[in-house]
């Protein structure tokens, strides 16, 4: 028999924790699934077990915020079953979740499901991007937060958006020299007045702190510039960078310069992680202002599949604060739907996070308008540049497939194996889709997506073979009855 539970929350980042806290506070028993061994997700990552930290203030503001959220979780009550170190491999009929940890797997049925799967760094292929020593902004954050060591000696930080300031400053804090910060878009703090809504926005206040620390340390900041390529035999030894056209960020290769660095950090924003909402059968739409494909949602963040909610960056990039607020709204709404609290009480509990969301979404819109990635970046990749790292498909091969008549991602996949590897297209689909749109003039909806297939996270055959909650169809071997009947 497949065990059933009133609520399953997938993901323990700000959105998942927010939902769990509110549901638990309302008295609803729930099961929280997360890949990591700690709660808090990527943003509120804690140092690995075994590292003893004497000065927690040195871990930064994100750590402190994570600790506050974790404390809120601890105070919310004990009716939460936490499956840590556990991945969701797939979702069936919006209700059944196949999960796997290192040693076990199983199927659980949820009366209601919250998917808070977060986001991943937007991959932008450029020559040398697969060399050791090229890291994503998110990867650097996770590395430094989890291991408390510096990932390189001298770094070039490139990408877009004031979040880069935090990454660069964290690198400095870890003891690395930052050669320069390259922003493909406009300056972060230009002389003209900033949008009024940014005043009082903690995210920007934090970014400004980091920026001031960088400026004080003499780290050069260059706007409308980005990294062009990384070079080295075994790992990064130097990087080439230069200006991009301010309108569409097309690299101006003729003006390239070189810097001697052993670390290149790239942060071009994030892509919502929609594998599970897709497998759950939720309808998706393309929303460039929110990072790409996202599940469609009605007020209070229910998807098109009744009883399945999506919150946080996995449902559209909104940042940690908004993710937590969305999660809280969802947690209250689920508790209300389950009859754990009355409608009037639910309305009251939703008020504060909804008000916060109205403010945050306006602030975020202004940020997105300035720092959303532009199409010219696809010109960074040369014909030899790997686009699909798993199956080693180059930009040239993608171009040949498109030239040969492929009009959508699925066709490119069948022709080149792009997206057929373990990452299921996370690293290649954004580039390939943009490229297809540029060449064919078709819309993102027309070029489509790479369909995720279970398992969306790695699992071994041995663990899958022992899955709990799935009945065995036949215990006896029917060929025993054959008795030489075939001839």
């Amino acid at each position: 028999m497949t065990p059933s539970t009133p609520l399953v929350v997938i993901g323990s980042g700000p959105a998942g924790l927010g939902a769990t806290i509110e549901a638990a506070r309302a008295g609803l028993p729930c099961t929280l699934i997360d890949e990591a061994t700690h709660l808090g997700g990527q943003i509120y990552r804690t140092p690995s077990a075994g590292l003893r930290v004497t000065d927690t203030a040195a871990l930064g503001k994100d750590f402190a915020k994570g600790e506050r959220l974790r404390a809120g979780f601890a105070a919310a009550g004990g009716r939460v079953e936490v499956l840590s170190g556990t991945s969701a491999l797939g979702v069936w009929d919006g209700r059944e979740i196949l999960w796997a940890s290192e040693n076990a797997s199983g199927l659980i049925r949820a009366e209601r499901l919250v998917i808070a799967a977060g986001a991943y760094d937007r991959p932008v292929p450029f020559p040398g991007w697969t060399l050791p020593g090229v890291m994503t902004a998110g990867g650097v954050q996770a590395f430094v937060k989890g291991n408390l060591v510096r990932p390189g000696r001298r770094a070039l930080v490139a990408g877009t958006g004031p979040l880069l300031a935090g990454v660069a400053n964290r690198l400095r804090g870890a003891g690395a020299e930052v050669a320069a910060v390259l922003e493909a878009g406009p300056p972060w703090w230009p002389p003209e007045p900033l949008p009024a809504v940014w005043h009082g926005w903690e995210f920007m206040a934090d970014a400004l702190d980091h920026w001031q620390a960088l400026t004080a340390a003499g780290v050069p900041f260059i706007s409308n510039h980005t990294v062009f390529s990384a070079h080295g035999t075994e790992q990064v030894e130097r990087a080439s960078y230069g200006p991009v056209r301010p309108d569409d960020w097309t690299p101006i290769h003729g003006e390239a310069r070189t810097a001697g660095v052993d670390l290149v950090v790239v942060g071009f924003g994030f892509v919502p992680n929609t594998e599970l909402t897709t497998l759950a059968g939720c309808r998706h739409r393309y929303a460039p202002e929110l990072g790409g494909w996202i599940p469609e949602r009605v007020p209070f963040f229910e998807t098109t599949v009744p009883g399945v909610f999506a919150a946080g960056d996995g449902a559209g990039i909104v940042g940690a604060a908004a993710a937590e607020a969305e999660g809280r709204v969802v947690g209250v709404t689920v508790a209300e739907a389950a009859g754990a609290i009355a409608a009037s009480e639910a309305d009251r509990r939703r008020e504060a996070p909804l008000a916060r969301l109205r403010f945050l979404s306006e602030a975020w819109r202004e940020l997105d308008a300035r720092y959303r990635v532009r199409g010219g970046l696809t010109d960074l990749a040369t014909p030899d540049t790997l686009v699909c790292r798993c199956e080693e498909v180059t930009r040239g091969e993608v171009g040949a497939a498109v030239g040969g008549g492929a009009r959508d991602l699925q066709a490119v996949k069948l022709l080149t194996r792009l997206g057929m590897g373990p990452c299921q297209g996370r690293n290649c689909a954004p580039f390939a889709a943009t490229h297809l749109c540029q060449v064919t003039g078709r819309s993102p909806a027309d070029v489509g997506r790479i369909n995720p297939r279970p398992p969306v996270k790695p699992v071994t055959l041995g663990v899958l073979a022992r899955a709990e909650g799935i009945g065995d169809t036949s215990a006896t071997d029917p060929l025993d009855a054959v008795g030489g009947g075939a001839s």
Partner: protein, 405 residues
């Protein structure tokens, strides 16, 4: 000036691509019309070329038999997986024999390696029931004794060190091979193109124009393509195309779920067939583990129960696989027919129309001979293989005659 009739092939799976290739090779003017389709059987094939194994009920057959027996839903009088008639074996053996030369020709014409490999197929015998099933196959195999080999557990351990030792032995079928199914379809398509065929992708066929009992054009979402002849190679969707010309085709979708592992170093030299699953290691290094046999209409998903069952079957056969990661699980819709034989050739009362469909579990294996045979029918040449037993008319009463105007 080429005076051959224009042929439109509907369907871009392995069969449609094979027909387009052989027709183009004969100098015919060919257009292949294809639409993107989830659940295409070619994309969910393991690429096993097992004329002997398939004809005696191994591969998917024995797994399906076990599942049915486990559910207690076997028809009365059925003992053991079904064997297919001699004509199937003859057809499949002939088709399989074409692969070595074909692989060479496709490499030369289309520049693609279809990864044809001589592997043999091993049926692993876990218990007395398996032995009792396999013994008569060995003694009276319709393929002849020289193509089968009985391996003791010791001989099996030497031949395939990765395979479990918990076996009574194995029956080997020499002459059963494998290929990369996607590359085969792609190589047919690419080669057809370089031989002059036109490939129209992402185009839905919306109708067949029938005038005076003859198909005269294929109507598509982007306009009509006049032609002298249409070939229905639409796989599980063949009934849809047939109906456009008033032809009822008894093909139904039969779902197969399949599991692929991460790439591994060479661990298996033969393909394996057990009562739980079959396994084939491809040149890329991944092991493909199949497959279910399910009648769920055009549903193309996968199920946790099948994932678990295939995983358990694979670990039982090759124990070290327990620590190997699953890369993905997907499914395809086999074009199933009532007697498990393909439907090839003309239809009475309708000119300018040929079937090349209903290949069920063996479309990859039977693609070369199907392509050759159908191209001969198109050209009006003497067929390389007698096609009478594969005509649609064998299903009496299944045909609604085309409207003769």
């Amino acid at each position: 000036m080429n005076r051959s009739p224009d042929v439109v092939v509907v369907g871009g799976g392995v069969i449609g691509c094979a027909v387009a290739y052989y027709a183009a090779k004969r100098g015919l003017r060919v257009t292949l019309v294809d639409r993107p389709q989830r659940g295409r059987a070619t994309s969910a094939s393991a690429g096993g070329l097992w004329p002997l194994g398939e004809s005696v009920g191994l591969g998917c057959g024995v797994i399906f038999y076990k599942a049915m027996a486990g559910l207690g839903s076997l028809p009365d009088g059925v003992h053991g997986p079904g064997q297919l008639p001699k004509v199937f074996l003859d057809f499949a053996v002939r088709s399989n024999a074409m692969f070595p030369d074909l692989a060479e020709a496709l490499r030369e014409t289309g520049g693609l390696d279809v990864e044809f490999e001589r592997t043999s197929l091993l049926f692993l015998m876990y218990d007395e029931g398996d032995v009792a099933f396999a013994k008569p196959l060995w003694e009276h195999c319709p393929c002849g004794r020289d193509l089968t080999e009985w391996l003791t557990p010791e001989e099996l351990a030497r031949a395939e060190p990765a395979v479990t030792r918990e076996v009574r032995g194995a029956l080997r079928f020499h002459g059963d091979d494998q290929v990369n199914p996607y590359r085969l379809a792609e190589a047919f398509r690419t080669s057809a193109r370089s031989l002059g065929a036109t490939v129209v992708t992402h185009t839905e066929v919306t109708g067949l124009r029938v005038e005076s009992g003859r198909v005269t054009a294929v109507e598509t979402a982007t306009g009509a393509i006049p032609c002298g002849l249409v070939v229905n190679a639409a796989g599980a969707w063949a009934p849809e195309i047939g109906r456009m010309a008033g032809v009822e085709i008894p093909v139904r979708p039969v779902r197969g779920q399949i599991l692929g592992t991460e790439a591994l170093p060479d661990v298996l030299s033969a393909c394996l067939s057990t009562t739980d699953c079959y396994l084939a290691q491809k040149q890329h290094g991944e092991v493909i583990i199949g497959s279910t046999t399910e009648e769920v209409g055009y549903e193309t998903g996968v199920t946790p129960a099948a994932m678990k069952a295939l995983a358990a079957g694979a670990v039982r056969a090759v124990p070290f696989l327990k620590d190997v990661r699953v890369k993905r699980v997907w499914s395809g819709l086999r074009p199933g027919t009532p007697d498990e034989l393909p439907i090839l050739g003309p239809v009475e009362g309708l000119d300018g129309y040929l079937n090349a469909c209903g290949h069920f579990r063996t479309g990859i294996l039977n693609a070369p001979l199907t392509g050759l045979l159908v191209s001969e029918m198109i050209a009006g040449a003497t067929p390389s293989f007698p096609a009478e037993l594969f005509l649609l008319s064998r299903f009496s009463g299944a045909i609604r005659r085309a409207d003769n105007r």
